[in-house]
């Protein structure tokens, strides 16, 4: 079956599960991711975080909305722009900070850094720095679930840049061919590093192209967390019911540069300002204020709680130990096969 529809945001709001508390929780998660990443900027500026750091500021609705459709048994594979995905999945902020500070208490023991967050207890399988390289792995996780008759799905995040890689196309075909329980989330932020979508793809309707592989593909507004959640829940339910892989193109935008190294010379500042008017946090907060479920005091309370949590998380992360250089060669092979 090949189908392609655009999710209707108004309908999605009516159908979204849960009420005000649910919306408040999602608002809080988005604010938490935003403030977390602002702390990353501070820590990077002070020299405590080094290497590549890719921020998802502006794209929080994707992390939060999609995660709402997942269960603890589902697996997640993602990209190097994954702080939001990790936090939404429940990886503790302290463990992510510690990872970026290179501490042994980091979620990858300081061996991965910002781009390679892992937490297998939460079935969070990274944190992949090769564009599209996580997609085949996600297909394998989904294949294992299918071969074992398990009801869980694998959710794989990737960007519009990955859509130009052969690994995306190979995986989309394989997943459709084998009816794999795979939820493909294309986080289309309109730029592959500095190259705009229109200079990268001859056909920019990515959902339409994905549908050509014989999987169901939708596009939804990635700046509207309620629309994202609605689309992800529908897709996840269908995948769990044996509908094969689903593809969601979530159109979104990063407000910051590609990475901390990027001077962001390739984008028009007015374009960035226009997208900021669609800020997913402001959008949901305004909606909640308009219907009376949130007021300025409520927002202040959220901000205060998050600021306190992040203060403590940074402090504890800084206290984490450094793995001694003598342990450099650990984990190249499993302990059972390491030379004694």
């Amino acid at each position: 079956m090949i189908r392609r529809t655009a999710a209707n945001p108004r309908r999605s709001r009516q159908r979204t599960a849960g009420g005000m508390d649910h919306q408040l929780a999602m608002l809080r998660e988005m604010v938490r991711i935003r403030r977390f990443e602002e702390r990353c900027v501070e820590l990077y500026s002070s020299g405590e975080i080094r290497g590549f750091v890719h921020l998802c500021i502006g794209e929080e609705a994707v992390s939060v909305g999609v995660n709402r459709a997942l269960t603890a048994e589902d697996s997640v594979v993602t990209t190097y722009r994954e702080h939001g995905h990790a936090l939404a999945r429940g990886v503790p902020a302290e463990a992510v900070f510690a990872e970026m500070l290179g501490r042994v208490t980091g979620c990858s023991r300081g061996r991965g850094g910002s781009m390679h967050l892992f937490d297998t207890a939460r079935r969070f399988y990274g944190g992949h720095g090769i564009v599209a390289g996580g997609l085949p792995v996600a297909a394998g996780l989904a294949l294992a679930a299918r071969m074992r008759g398990q009801p869980n799905l694998t959710c794989c995040f990737f960007g519009d840049g990955a859509f130009a890689e052969g690994e995306f196309h190979e995986t989309a075909n394989l997943a459709a061919l084998w009816d794999l329980p795979l939820l493909l989330i294309c986080e289309n932020n309109l730029y592959a590093m500095g190259t705009p979508l229109v200079r990268e793809h001859a056909q920019t309707d990515l959902a339409a192209r994905a549908a050509s592989y014989g999987l169901v593909a939708w596009a939804a507004d990635g700046m509207d967390v309620l629309a994202v959640e609605h689309a992800a829940r529908r897709a996840a339910r269908a995948v769990r019911e044996g509908g094969g892989p689903y593809f969601l193109e979530l159109r979104t935008y990063r407000f910051r540069a590609h990475s901390m190294y990027d001077p962001d010379l390739y984008r028009d500042k007015t374009e960035i300002e226009q997208w900021k008017e669609r800020d997913p946090i402001t959008r949901l907060a305004d909606l909640m204020c308009a219907d009376g479920s949130l007021d300025g005091h409520g927002l202040e309370l959220i901000e205060k709680e998050i600021a306190d949590e992040l203060d403590q998380a940074v402090d504890r992360a800084r206290e984490g130990g450094l793995e001694p250089a003598e342990d450099l060669l650990r984990f190249v092979r499993s302990p059972a096969s390491e030379p004694s």
Partner: protein, 330 residues
């Protein structure tokens, strides 16, 4: 002599197949996937019959998507299955090199020990069948360069039969290189054969005058060379590396300590190749045992050509090995 029936003759191909049959029967986490492994029976006939025996869920034909199906093997291994992924040839494996290097070999370390990848990848390597430059190369030395994976090169029927089980038991990725010229090699399984120690090279022929160090498709040539040398009164010891990563320095250096001379025979290219690594280790660790410079016999530095006489000229031949051994003995 015992009174029991001699083992029936078998082939390298059948030994590989029997190893997979045993693994599929013994452990329901094991499955095989790759191009044409099912209905076709494997491009080289290795998996013939396994589809009928184990079904299409466990003997999976894949699209021609090396990156996707090798990566899918990685994901399935992470999830707890024990995939055997067949890649048709080492030249094709370059299409999956991203998955093998950036994921299979890397994820355990990059995740701080969380994400193990118990995956076995099998592929054909080597020349000698006039298949020209895109089906004939010996790139196992490239794979042996990569920390995080184990690299095996079964050269005998016994190793073809008994390397797979310990490879599947390894918690980390293992890449197995089967030389294309060996599939039809026939012989009988030695009595008492069993699981191979994957950390050990094997002395295939004892000798005192020179050590011929080789592996895979070149083992037979090295043994033939040793036979010719013996006729001239030169006793060559032949060491089969078997495991190309991690290299068994102890066996190699132990042999050189006895013979004081070493010849490395490798169907890969000379420059930056596995032969260079072995020669460097012999020199680093056995310099004062050596009575002569380490000799190397490698493939010519050329894409392997089609025409028979050119292909033969490009590859290590018995005469080349004999000549190198004579140079070493002086």
């Amino acid at each position: 002599m015992t009174g029991t029936e001699p083992a029936p003759p078998t082939t390298y191909r059948e030994a590989l197949r029997e190893a997979m049959r045993e693994a599929l029967a013994a452990d329901d986490r094991v499955f095989l996937m790759g191009e044409d492994v099912g209905r076709y029976g494997g491009a080289f006939g290795v998996s013939l019959g396994l589809l009928d025996e184990f079904g299409s869920a466990r003997v999976r034909d894949t699209p021609l998507s090396e990156s996707a199906f090798v990566g899918a093997g990685i994901g399935a291994a992470i999830a707890g299955l024990r995939p055997i992924v067949e890649v048709m040839t080492v030249n094709f494996s370059l299409l999956a090199l991203d998955q093998i290097l950036n994921n299979a070999a890397t994820l355990l370390h990059m995740s701080g020990g969380q994400v193990g990848v118990p995956l076995v990848i099998r592929m054909t390597t080597g020349a000698g069948r006039q298949l020209a430059a895109q089906h004939s190369h010996s790139l196992e030395g490239w794979y042996a360069h990569i920390p995080g994976i184990r690299v095996l090169a079964p050269a005998t029927i016994e190793d073809a039969r008994y390397m797979l089980a310990p490879a599947l038991a390894d918690p980390d990725p293992v890449v197995i290189f089967e030389h294309g010229s060996l599939y039809n090699a026939s012989g009988t399984m030695p009595a008492g054969s069993g699981p191979v120690d994957l950390d050990s090279a094997a002395v295939r022929r004892p000798g005192t005058d020179v050590t011929l160090i080789t592996y895979g498709g070149s083992l037979g040539k090295a043994l033939d060379a040793a036979e010719q040398l013996a006729a001239d009164g030169i006793a060559a010891e032949v060491v089969d590396l078997r495991t190309l990563r991690p290299l068994d320095d102890t066996t190699v250096l132990g042999s050189v300590q006895q013979t004081h001379r070493a010849v490395v025979v490798d169907e890969g290219w000379r420059t930056g190749g596995l032969s260079a690594e072995v020669a460097a280790r012999v020199t680093e660790q056995g310099f004062y045992d050596l009575d002569a410079p380490v000799q190397r016999v490698c493939a010519a530095e050329v894409p392997v050509p089609y025409a028979r006489q050119l292909e033969e000229a490009a590859l290590p031949q018995v005469a080349d090995i004999v000549a190198a051994a004579r140079r070493a003995v002086g």
